[in-house]
C-alpha cells in the first residue's frame, strides 16, 4: 500500500524519460539504478557514493550531537526556571527566524574552509575525519538547535506543578528532581525535538556542502555532477539523501514507541 505511489512515480518518470530521450534533462531510471547499485565505485572523478554518504552522515551526527548537547540542558533550564526563560526568550526568538543558510556567508568569513584537520593534523590520514569542516558542522548545529531547544523547554514547562511538588515532598532535590522527574517527564517532547532537529540538520547539510571549499559529501556530489550534466548521479544522490532522512525519522519514531511511557500527565 505504502509503495503504490512511489512505484507509480517511478513508472511515470521512466515513461517521460523514454519519451524525452534527453538524459541530460531527465535520466532513465536504469542509469540511476546503475549508479545506486555500485556504491563503492568511483563516481565521476570524486570518491565513491558510499564515501560521500559516510562523510555526510558523520557531519550531520557531529553537528546534531553538538546542537543537542547545548539545546537539551538549556531547554530544561528554560522550561523549569522562569527567570532563565525570560532571560533567553527574546534572544532566541530573534535568532530563530534566521534561516541556517543565511549564516553561510558569515560562517565562511569566520571559519573559512578550516576543519578539524587544522586542529589535529594527525587526522589527515583518515578520509572521513579530514573532511569535517567547522563551517558545515556549525550550519547543521544551527539548523538542529532550535527545534530541540523549543521542544525540550515546552516539554519541561508542561509538566503539571503537582508532579514536581509531589516529588519534592518525597525528598527530590536538584539532581534527583532533574534525572528522576524533569527528564523522564519531558522525554517524549525531547525525542520529538531531536527527530525534527535531525531532519532539519540533514536538510541544512546538503546546502552547507554546496558551500565553496567543500570537496566531499552528498551535497557536493550533486553539485559537482551538475557541472558535468550527469543527471543520473544527481538523482541518485537525491534519492540517497531522501532515503537516509526517511530511515532516521523511522528510527526516531521506533525509539519513541519503545522508550517512551504511555498514558498522560493531567
Amino acid at each position: 500500500m505504502r509503495l503504490i505511489l512511489p512505484l507509480l512515480l517511478a513508472c511515470a518518470w521512466e515513461i517521460v524519460a523514454l519519451y524525452l530521450n534527453k538524459p541530460m534533462i531527465l535520466p532513465r531510471l536504469e542509469s540511476v539504478v546503475k549508479v545506486l547499485l555500485h556504491p563503492t565505485q568511483k563516481v565521476l572523478i570524486t570518491g565513491s557514493l558510499a564515501m560521500h554518504m559516510c562523510i555526510s552522515v558523520v557531519r550531520v551526527l557531529l553537528g546534531f550531537f553538538l546542537a543537542a548537547s547545548v539545546a537539551i540542558p538549556l531547554g530544561i533550564w528554560m522550561g523549569h526556571c522562569r527567570l532563565a526563560d525570560k532571560l533567553f526568550d527574546s534572544l532566541i526568538e530573534l535568532l530563530r527566524p534566521i534561516p541556517p543558510l543565511a549564516w553561510i556567508p558569515l560562517i565562511l568569513a569566520w571559519f573559512g574552509i578550516k576543519g578539524i584537520v587544522d586542529w589535529a593534523p594527525q587526522l589527515s590520514e583518515s578520509i572521513l575525519l579530514s573532511n569535517i569542516q567547522y563551517g558545515t558542522v556549525v550550519i547543521i548545529m544551527i539548523g538542529a538547535f532550535f527545534p530541540v531547544l523549543l521542544n525540550t523547554a515546552q516539554g519541561v514547562r508542561s509538566i503539571p506543578d503537582e508532579y514536581i511538588e509531589s516529588a519534592r515532598t518525597l525528598g527530590a532535590r536538584r539532581f534527583s528532581l532533574l534525572f528522576k522527574v524533569l527528564i523522564p517527564a519531558s522525554a517524549p517532547a525531547i525525542l520529538t525535538g531531536l527527530r525534527i532537529g535531525m531532519g532539519i540538520g540533514w536538510m541544512c547539510l546538503v546546502a552547507a556542502e554546496m558551500m565553496p571549499g567543500s570537496s566531499s559529501g552528498l551535497g557536493y556530489l550533486i553539485w559537482y555532477a551538475y557541472e558535468f550534466l550527469r543527471t543520473d548521479v544527481i538523482v541518485a544522490g537525491m534519492i540517497i539523501i531522501g532515503f537516509i532522512g526517511f530511515l532516521v525519522d523511522r528510527g526516531f519514531r521506533w525509539l519513541e514507541n519503545r522508550i517512551i511511557w504511555r498514558g498522560r500527565m493531567s
Binding site: E165, G171, A172, I260, W261
Partner: protein
C-alpha cells in the same frame, strides 16, 4: 506535634494588590490526631496545607513540627494531591519506591517496604502495572502508598478523593481510617465535603474567607461512623450553618 502559630499568607494578584489567603491562623495538631480542614473554595484551606508542606512560605508567623521550624518540603510531610500525580513512566512498584530511591535505601529493604504498603492499600498484585492501566481510585491508593512508604510524621492530603465517584470515595475513606488506626499517623486532611470531614476526623477545622478559622469542632463519635445517625446529622448541620453564616 504540629503547631501553626499566628501564620498569615498574602499573594499578589495581577494588579499588584495584596490578597490575604490565610490570616493570623493558630492551630495545634497533636501526634496521631486526624484533623480535617473543611471550607468552601477560596477559604485558604489548600494554602494552609501547602504552608505546612513547606511548598509555600508564610508571610508572617511560623510553623513548627516537633518544635522545629518548617523550611521547605521534606518526606517528613508527604502530600497526596487531588490530581493524579503518579509518574506515568514508572510502574506502580517504582512509583512507591520513588522516595526510598532518593533516600538511597538499599534494594532489599526498599522492595520489602514497597510490598508492605502496596498490600496495605490492597494493590499487592498490581506492582508491575503502569498508572494508565489503573482506575482513578486505584491510582489514589497508590499515591497514598507512595506517601506512606516515606514514613512521614505528618500525612497531608489535599482533597485526595475529590475526583472519585461517591461509592469509590466511601470505600477509600474507610480504608484510610483503617490505615490510620493501624499505622498511627498524624493526618491533616483538606476537603470541601462536610460529611467527608465528619466521617474521618477527630477534629474538624471550619475555615471561612478570608483564611480564618471559624471554629474547631471535636467529633465525638465512635468509628466506623454511620452517616445516618442523629449525632452525625447534628454535626453536619452545625458545620453547614457555620459555613452559611459567613
Amino acid at each position: 506535634m504540629l503547631e501553626i502559630i499566628n501564620v498569615s499568607k498574602t499573594f499578589q494578584n495581577a494588579n499588584g494588590e495584596r490578597i490575604p489567603a490565610v490570616s493570623s491562623l493558630d492551630l495545634t495538631v497533636a501526634r496521631n490526631e486526624f484533623v480535617c480542614v473543611v471550607g468552601m473554595s477560596g477559604c485558604g484551606k489548600t494554602t494552609t496545607l501547602r504552608l505546612v508542606a513547606g511548598l509555600d512560605k508564610p508571610t508572617e508567623g511560623r510553623i513548627l513540627v516537633d518544635g522545629r521550624k518548617v523550611n521547605g518540603p521534606t518526606p517528613e510531610r508527604c502530600v497526596v494531591f487531588q490530581k493524579y500525580t503518579l509518574f506515568p513512566w514508572r510502574t506502580v512498584r517504582d512509583n512507591v519506591a520513588f522516595g526510598l530511591e532518593i533516600r538511597r535505601m538499599n534494594r532489599q529493604d526498599r522492595m520489602a517496604r514497597v510490598r508492605k504498603y502496596l498490600e496495605l492499600v490492597g494493590l499487592g498484585d498490581y506492582d508491575m502495572s503502569y498508572p494508565f492501566e489503573l482506575s482513578g481510585g486505584m491510582q489514589q491508593r497508590v499515591a497514598v502508598a507512595r506517601a506512606l512508604a516515606a514514613e512521614p510524621k505528618i500525612l497531608l492530603m489535599d482533597e485526595p478523593f475529590g475526583a472519585l465517584d461517591s461509592r469509590t470515595r466511601e470505600i477509600l475513606q474507610n480504608e484510610l481510617i483503617g490505615i490510620w488506626c493501624n499505622e498511627r499517623k498524624t493526618i491533616l486532611f483538606v476537603t470541601h465535603s462536610i460529611s467527608e470531614a465528619i466521617t474521618l476526623a477527630d477534629r474538624v477545622v471550619v475555615m471561612t474567607r478570608p483564611g480564618r478559622i471559624r471554629r474547631l469542632i471535636d467529633i465525638d463519635l465512635p468509628r466506623p461512623r454511620d452517616k445516618n445517625c442523629e449525632r452525625f446529622r447534628k454535626y453536619n448541620a452545625q458545620v453547614r450553618d457555620l459555613l452559611n453564616e459567613s
